[in-house]
Amino acid sequence: MRTLFKVAGAIAAGLATPAAAADKLKVGFIYVGPIGDFGYSYQHNQGRLAVEKALGDKVETTFLENVPEADSERSIEQLARTGHKLIFTTSFGFMEPTVKVAKKYPNVLFEHATGYKRDKNLATYSAKFHEGRYVQGVIAGKLTKSNTIGYVASFPIPEVVSGINAFMLGAQSVNPAIKVKIVWANTWFDPGKEADAAKALLDQGADIITQHTDSPAPLQQAEARGKLAFGQASDMIRFAPKATLTSIVDNWNDYYVARVKAALDGTWKSEDTWGGFAANMVNMAPFTNMPDDVKKLATDTEAAIKSGALNPFKCPVVDQDGKTVECKGGANLSDEQVLGMAFYVKGIDDKLPK
């Protein structure tokens, strides 16, 4: 509520006295995909728009979309050179370029998403997407009739691997006999190929599809076949009103607004933020197309994770080969173990590149 007043205040102030351009904090964003992907980059751009909305004329925002990761140093530096004082680089592949540019521009603040290298003027942030995956797993475990889930995956990076594991652990918690079939599309975004992958999984007996690629194509295929599916990154229910169970929604709005405010106030500090449900960085879209008892279970699971009562990676975690994984975080796997996850949990019949 208080923020709402501030927003209103900011807007009112903006209407009354247009601030000089020099007073504005210029904030830059670098996106790896097009803002029209309706997925990952789209959600980051929603965060940028939230900043504009919340802070009105105190800020001026700029973005570059579809920036190739290996060729991004120039793009980041372009923003730094043109007076942007806070720059968000929103994909892992921007890490080394961001580190280099941050060294060169000590008076500019940088924030890099999903990476692990920090500096005095370089913070990192990421979201606990796996919390959402766990809830999905619980729902899928309850609803599947064929006991087979199809998983359209992009690339075997820790975020995706920990997502698969969390999904499996969630599913096993209600349905020990469940199987997950994984297809690596080797792309983040190719609607046709994602659709084909979903079809292959459905043809092999999966009755629920989940995806860690960015387009709504797998969801649409599930809808066309009368099966169920989960959306990715944004609420995708409009693409499959009868098939969508829920979507994991990346929500960068609060984080971006808070960080830009901190930069405005001079309270910005370089730190690492890794938030999930509790931090409101990951949301579940409404639970739909499921019976009330499953809906309740899903809601309870989400609440338990949010409150900290439940951790998806609660020890003991048993890996694919039946070995118990060393528990480095007390009662749960440590953050580092999850952020660098490169093993599958028991029950997953796929191999990771070694």
């Binding site: 700029t62 570059l64 120039r74 793009s75 820790p158 490169a342 070694k354």
Partner: protein, 355 residues
Amino acid sequence: MRLELVPRGDVSPWARVLAPVAAVIAAVLIGGVVIAVMGRSPAAAFQVYFVDTLSESWGLQEMAVKATPLLIIAVGLSFCFRASLWNIGAEGQFIIGALVGSILPLYTAGSGAGFWVIPLALVMGALGGLAYAMIPALLRVTFGVSEILSSLMLVYVADLVLDYLVRGPWRDPKGFNFPQTVNFDATLPFLADGGRLHAGVLLGPVLVLVAWFVISRTLFGFGVRVAGEAPKAARFAGFDANRMVLAAFAISGAAAGLAGVLEVLGQIGQLKPGISSGYGFTAITVAFLGRLHPLGMVFGALVVALTVIGGESAQIALKLPLDLTRTFQGVLLMCVLAADALVSYRVRIVTMARA
């Protein structure tokens, strides 16, 4: 009514130089109208897109860095294209070159190995690209498989090989299992303060001179030209067609491979997926923009580099959408091509049916 092209007799060198200027003016007029319709200032757009980039040391350095891989690949490709060989897989040769060239820097990273790593890495990169280009060349001479198809398909394969290595055996053990290698120590030195102009950029002009000499002053260069323009005459003259295929592919593969390793050691400093932002394909445009002439390709590479950097500046300063700057990039290239054609031909509008 139709258009008729009449070849101009003598084309003055001035016309050749001024044509691109005219093309830029034409493109700016087209783009200016669009920008004015959108309610932004065309003059500001022109300033940001062209003037700022070309008037600052930073912009010029970035242009050179961006143009270098394009130029080196294009110079290599020009041998294939002159001999009427369609190597459209330079992107794959670039990637494999980067990959093979990275072997030494990767295994010596952190060991304090000396400067000797760099020249060896460059040679290995060129050899890697060369070897990869031999696949379509050999398939063509032994099985008659079209090089258009095989070279293009091998691009996707190269991409996946790189992907496999950086996610599997070559990934940084301390990198939280993210797909990237360690940072290499053996990187190319920078030439100027405040910018990213690296030593590899110097190789571009050197290779241009070498290519110009080979094409215009050697028997081999003569053979390449004849093979493209008059294959039968080439056979009568005793040039072995198969050897020509292998040689042209070797040159273009080596050039693309060299460009790949230069990009890694000069710009990126490590291997990761997607190290090429389409250089191998864009270089084809560069080669033909420059009419396969070494100096022309220098111009082509610089124009393309300018449109990339200028486009980015316009997105930042004027908040123009990427798709608009990209469309403008294509229109600008078309204008350059058209202007170049108008230097060679006069257009006559024929209003009556031919007598």
